[in-house]
């Protein structure tokens, strides 16, 4: 198990918070909460060691398409593939919009 931290430039914090996913086989849990304007912090606790570069690239690709809101994101990962991670993050952003 490994704990990783990432930081990205961001916009304004959202009003609400969201929780998506589950720490089940091949899945992950994502907690999204409002952060400080301008900064997106991500904490990842993952069962798969040595995958820091893969997380970095995945986040970069996702956030270069559009600037994310200012959030503190906590991820509990149980071996999700990059595709599943991306879907869960997009689902989380979507749910933030509903609140």
């Amino acid at each position: 198990m490994e704990t990783l931290s990432f930081e990205f430039p961001a916009g304004q914090p959202p009003k609400g918070r969201a929780l998506v996913g589950c720490v089940g086989s091949g899945d992950l849990e994502v907690l999204l909460e409002p952060g400080t304007a301008g900064t997106l912090n991500i904490q990842v606790q993952t069962s798969v060691n040595g995958a820091e570069q893969r997380w970095q690239h995945l986040f970069q690709r996702l956030f270069q398409e559009q600037t994310p809101p200012a959030l503190n994101i906590q991820i509990h990962d149980f071996g999700a593939t990059p595709g599943v991670v991306r879907l869960r993050l997009e689902q989380g952003f979507e749910e933030l919009g509903h609140d």
Binding site: M1, L19, V23, S47, Q74
Partner: protein
């Protein structure tokens, strides 16, 4: 076909979605929600990724107007195993519900059980928490029904199968399994010839929801459908306390078990006849 399309599976829902689906719209309020991050302090130290709610959702609200607390176990997280935190959440919720009743608020409890029992990484702390849950069920069920629901697909095993047995009423689906020991444990102890844990029809024929219902060990056998499960729970809640709690009928069951010839391989029908006796 339309039946199938109109059906809304309960088994496929996660713990939080299940609790939301059962409570009256707008009444859902979660206690110790995941953002409070009351997590297992033991899993990370053993290299296991924790979950923010430790796999247990406690929700208060109303079900058809009746005050209810729901404890839902997330079967996808560590097999629904109960450790110190998750176990304490359930025990605490049941104890508070009993306290409510002593203060004139008739809170009922619904337990959504998807669990392999104690979480081995937390050993005695999990066992102690499950003992607290047992005691809290016995306390609360004097006032109001405690309803156990085993929907599947994990089933309910270990110490939590005892909790299921202590409930005022137990509701199962076809997907459910209920047993003190899980199939793999029995296979390991009894041998492959006697109990093949990979033989799914065989496992369900002995520990499945339908068999448990037909043996009189469950009170309701329901299709995997949110509306039907909710309806049955509501009926049981309104029914009030059972005339005799199942766990108070130990003498009856022990007498039946004493009659069993354990030499031949047991058949599902033998079990049904044994438990039902003159009632079948």
């Amino acid at each position: 076909m339309t039946d199938l399309l109109n059906r809304h599976s309960f088994v496929e829902l996660g713990a939080r979605q299940r609790a939301k689906a059962l409570l009256d719209a707008g009444s859902y309020r979660e206690l110790i929600d995941p953002f409070q991050r009351v997590m297992s302090p033991w899993l990370s130290r053993q290299g296991v990724v924790p979950q923010a709610d430790d796999g247990v959702v406690i929700a208060k609200g109303t079900l058809d107007g009746l005050p209810v607390v729901i404890a839902a176990i997330e079967g996808n997280f560590q097999g629904g195993s109960l450790g110190e935190v998750g176990g304490a959440k359930i025990a605490g919720a049941l104890e508070l519900a009993a306290e409510d009743n002593r203060n004139g608020i008739p809170t009922r409890a619904v337990l959504l059980l998807e669990t392999g029992g104690v979480r081995l990484q937390e050993a005695n702390l999990g066992l102690a928490a499950i003992a607290d849950i047992h005691a809290a069920i016995v306390d609360l069920r004097q006032y109001q029904p405690v309803i156990g629901v085993v929907a599947g697909s994990v089933g309910c095993f270990g110490g939590m199968s005892i909790a299921a047995g202590l409930c005022s009423y137990l509701l199962v689906t076809r997907e459910a399994r209920l047993g003190l020991n899980g199939p793999q444990v029995i296979e390991q102890e009894a041998g492959l010839e006697e109990y093949d844990s990979r033989d799914r029809p065989f496992i369900w024929s002995l520990t499945g929801g339908e068999q448990r219902f037909n043996s009189g060990l469950a009170d309701r056998y329901v299709a995997d459908d949110v509306a039907q499960i909710r309806q049955q729970i509501s009926e049981l809640l309104q029914q009030g306390l059972p005339a005799t709690q199942r766990s108070r009928q130990a003498d009856y069951y022990l007498a039946r078990l004493a009659e069993l010839d354990a030499a031949p391989q047991i058949e599902p029908a033998t079990v049904r006849d044994l438990y039902q006796g003159e009632r079948s």
